[in-house]
């Protein structure tokens, strides 16, 4: 009986590698609520989500590239978020282009275009992703600095709404939800199967007739697009385009994706996992803040959780796949 339960548990963990992360996230959320009862009230949700959105989107924007395999670690997402925010605040709004109907598409276009370039570098020109995006990291940080030498403040109304509420809906929720809508649409097409196949074994996919380069370019473009959304979230949350703000997201975003159960080798994982992973990191931060303990503890804890989570998820998925293999041998 116990082994049966264990097998079922392992099986569900393999099909849903983010399940463990979700449990941790829920525990952290409850802990946050206990530590500070005003943490998540009806009125605090919008600002909570607005704070969370840029980082959550950075993690989500890192995911498609990683799913596409070939070591698709995109370290240019942080600077890209930043560049988009600089473009929106410093170039568009500061120069009088205040309509969201222009600004939002422009932000998304910048993100997608940068992603597409990364995708071409990786998919067609065969650059290793870390190297291509290391180059992107330098160029985008440079561009961000060049465009906006000093942080500029803005109080543009649609941006303010996005940072708080659009009608009754928290702006952060809209921002975070939008990549998932895109993903849901894609799930109805043939694309996601091919994305996971390319990530799982690109040689097999190529020989079977999958257009690996186009699948990969699309993945990077999607990542860029999501980073565009993240840039908007960043602009909404900070109301400024501080060029040094988001570069710090780069590494924690990768950590969030890993905690969320997405394989860094590709072919396994989900956007949802990355969101949960990001939530864990975010909730640790807020918990520490609420507890008002030494503000230097979070880094220590977050590092430890990162290592434990990645080790646990790797061990579990291996045990689960071994259990699955054992079953077929016995059958």
């Amino acid at each position: 009986m116990r082994t049966d339960l264990r097998a079922r548990l392992l099986g569900s963990l393999q099909t849903r590698p983010w399940a463990l992360a979700l449990v941790i996230a829920v525990i952290l959320f409850v802990a946050n609520q206990l530590a500070r009862s005003s943490f998540a009230t009806w009125s605090s949700w919008p600002s909570l989500l607005a704070d969370f959105a840029p980082f959550a989107l950075a993690a989500i924007a890192t995911t498609p590239q990683m799913l596409s395999g070939a070591g698709g670690i995109d370290i240019s997402i942080g600077p890209l978020l930043n560049l988009v925010s600089v473009v929106v605040v410093g170039e568009l709004i500061a120069r009088g282009t205040t309509s969201p109907w222009i600004d939002v598409p422009a932000a998304l276009a910048v993100g997608a275009a940068v992603g597409c370039v990364n995708g071409i570098l990786v998919g067609v020109l065969r650059y290793q992703a870390v190297l291509a995006t290391l180059c992107g990291l330098f160029v985008l940080s440079g561009l961000g600095q060049a465009l906006l030498a000093t942080p500029a403040a803005s109080s543009q109304s649609w941006l303010t709404h996005l940072g708080a509420q659009v009608g009754p809906v928290p702006g952060g929720l809209i921002l975070i939800a939008s990549p998932f809508l895109v993903w849901l649409v894609l799930a109805r097409t043939a694309y996601l199967d091919q994305l996971y196949a390319v990530g799982g074994d690109e040689v097999a996919a190529y020989s079977a007739g999958v257009d690996v380069a186009r699948v990969r370019i699309t993945a990077y473009t999607l990542g860029g697009l999501f980073a565009g959304v993240g840039g908007l979230a960043l602009a909404a949350a900070t109301q400024t385009g501080d060029p040094t703000e988001a570069t710090q997201y780069t590494l924690p975003a990768i950590a969030a994706v890993a905690i969320g159960g997405t394989s860094l080798v590709g072919g396994r994982g989900s956007l949802l996992g990355s969101l949960i992973g990001a939530a864990i990191i975010f909730l640790i931060q807020t918990l520490i803040d609420s507890l008002n303990v030494n503000s230097n503890v979070p880094q220590l804890i977050y590092g430890a959780i990162l290592i434990v989570a990645i080790v646990l998820s790797a061990t579990l998925s291996r045990t689960a796949s071994r259990a699955a293999e054992g079953e077929t041998v016995a059958a």
Binding site: Q194, Y196, G200, D201, S207, D211, S321, E325
Partner: protein
């Protein structure tokens, strides 16, 4: 013995064929850097025909397949599929759109995805699905049912299947899309015997309905059984083409090698090592179990013995090799003749047991490193001079084996990837010979290796055994088990089904035992 003009393309075939060829390859050539892999190859594949392509390693077979499959573009010459316009930019995708599907030697599946996803992999557009999911399921079960007696559930992850079932998925991937030309490149080497026979039935039916199959195999028996026409490649040229029954095996071998050294090395003094079993015991297992519930194995290897391991894929022969190389088993232990327990591969190596893994690319080669380092990796201590590692010394040691194993290489400083598959395998074998092992364990060392290299390897094994080295070799080639081994252990469901002494070895007998005893006569042959 109607050999078509051996110097050039088989021009117009003598007997007028009723149908125009389905696929015409004219004088294609392909070079990789300075290596001319294919000089001039021409062949015509008629509808309804199984067209075998034979040749030694390095003769250009795999290159030809990759050109046909759209993986590479030819430098010169044309490939046309009559009745459909040639695809513009050749890629696996465009070639498949024209109806040519290739099953490669490597088992190319995506482990994390389901059987269904793997079978239909590559058929869709970037976003648009080509076939509805329900139609996909129906077609996939139909085709898998033809290939496998017990097809896996369509939603099972491919990672949980056996190697043979995985390759069946690759074959099904081609079949579900109704190929006009199906290319099977050594794809039978990963299949178990039952699946192979089922595949042959499917192939015959495909041909009967007007398709064509290009068939590549190192197993002469399979070619005899299946091929309507055989084209011989030698040094990148198509040198001869025979209709079924036109050429004897000897003739084919002569065309492949360009000489008459057919029988050299395959003959063997039958009583040569009759008394070998009375020799010193080198390795023994006690109550070894390869899976829970398996029968215990008590195995002894004597000096100078050649022991073969056989069975259907995944029935325990691999696990026994793993146990013998010190990598552990479910229960029981492995020790040397002088009772030293082997607890780890390091223990085993220290006790003089060397293991040549199965998968050359994944388990043996260091692609970015030099040939000499690929050779010396297991015995680097011997290349130390005054504490420093000497490449020259490594290369000098390799030179000893270059002549013995007939390895063809330029400079030992070249990367290992500059060598052909057979020569890479010889370097790997040399790696382990350099350790002067008392026991040599080999995991299907002749898989995908050409006749010449096989013969070199057989000769080596004979010599080793005459020097008192004990050899245990897993093989999927019945011929080499029958001709070479002192005895063969046949595995079935994780246990030793039978131990067949040399005097009783025959191909049919082995195959019958794969299926558990003498009942399944029809499966032999």
């Amino acid at each position: 013995m109607a050999v078509v003009d051996p110097s050039r393309a088989p021009a117009a075939p003598s007997g007028a064929r009723p149908a125009p060829p389905l696929l015409r390859v004219q004088e294609v050539a392909k070079s990789f850097g300075a290596t001319r892999a294919l000089r001039s190859c021409s062949l015509e594949v008629a509808a309804g025909e199984v067209h075998a392509i034979v040749g030694e390693n390095g003769s250009g077979k795999s290159t030809l397949v990759k050109l046909l499959a759209g993986v590479h573009l030819p430098d010169a010459g044309t490939i046309e599929l009559t009745a459909t316009p040639s695809p513009g930019r050749r890629s696996p995708r465009s070639v498949q759109a024209a109806g040519i599907f290739t099953v490669f030697q490597e088992v190319l599946v995506v482990g994390g995805q389901s059987v269904l996803q793997n079978v239909w992999l590559g058929s869709d557009g970037l976003f648009r699905r080509s076939v509805s999911e329900s139609a996909q399921r129906a077609r996939a079960s139909e085709v898998l049912g033809e290939l496998l007696s017990a097809p896996p559930p369509l939603d099972a992850p491919v990672a949980s299947l056996s190697l043979s079932e995985r390759q069946a998925c690759c074959i099904a991937r081609a079949l579900v899309r109704s190929p006009r030309v199906l290319i099977l490149d050594e794809s039978t080497s990963a299949l178990d015997v039952a699946t192979r026979d089922r595949l042959f039935t499917v192939v015959r039916r495909l041909c009967a309905s007007g398709g064509a199959v290009i068939f590549i195999s190192h197993r002469m028996g399979e070619i005899d059984e299946l091929a309507d026409r055989i084209t011989v490649l030698r040094s990148g040229e198509s040198v001869a083409s025979f209709a079924r029954g036109e050429a004897t095996a000897d003739e084919l071998v002569r065309q492949m090698t360009g000489s008459d050294h057919l029988t050299a090395g395959t003959e063997r003094a039958p009583a040569g090592r009759g008394g070998a079993t009375s020799g010193r015991i080198l390795l023994r297992t006690r109550a070894l179990r390869l899976r829970p519930g398996g029968r215990p194995i008590d195995f002894q290897l004597a000096a100078g013995e050649l022991v073969g391991l056989a069975g259907l894929e995944g029935h325990g022969q691999h696990a026994l090799l793993d146990a013998l190389r010190g990598a552990g088993a479910v229960a029981g232990d492995v020790s040397t003749g002088d009772e030293r327990l082997l607890r780890s591969p390091q223990d085993a190596f220290a006790a003089g047991i060397a293991y040549v893994p199965r998968d050359r690319r994944d388990e043996s080669l260091f692609p970015s490193l030099a040939i000499s380092e690929n050779f010396g990796v297991a015995t680097m201590g011997a290349d130390r001079r005054a504490g420093l590692f000497s490449r020259r010394r490594s290369a000098a040691r390799l030179a000893n084996y270059v002549s013995e194993l007939a390895i063809r290489l330029g400079s030992p400083r070249q990367p290992i990837t500059a060598l052909s598959g057979g020569n890479q395998q010889k370097v790997v074998v040399a790696r382990w010979l350099a350790a002067h092992p008392a026991v040599l364990l080999l995991n299907d060392p002749t898989r995908g290796v050409d006749l010449g290299a096989k013969r070199d390897l057989y000769r080596l094994l004979e010599r080793l055994s005459s020097e008192g080295v004990g050899v245990v070799m897993l093989s999927t080639e019945l011929d080499e088990l029958v001709e070479l081994m002192d005895r063969v252990l046949v595995f079935r469901e994780g246990s030793v089904e039978a131990e067949v002494p040399r005097s009783e070895l025959s191909a049919d007998g082995l195959v019958r035992r794969f299926f558990g005893g003498g009942g399944a006569q029809s499966d032999a042959n």
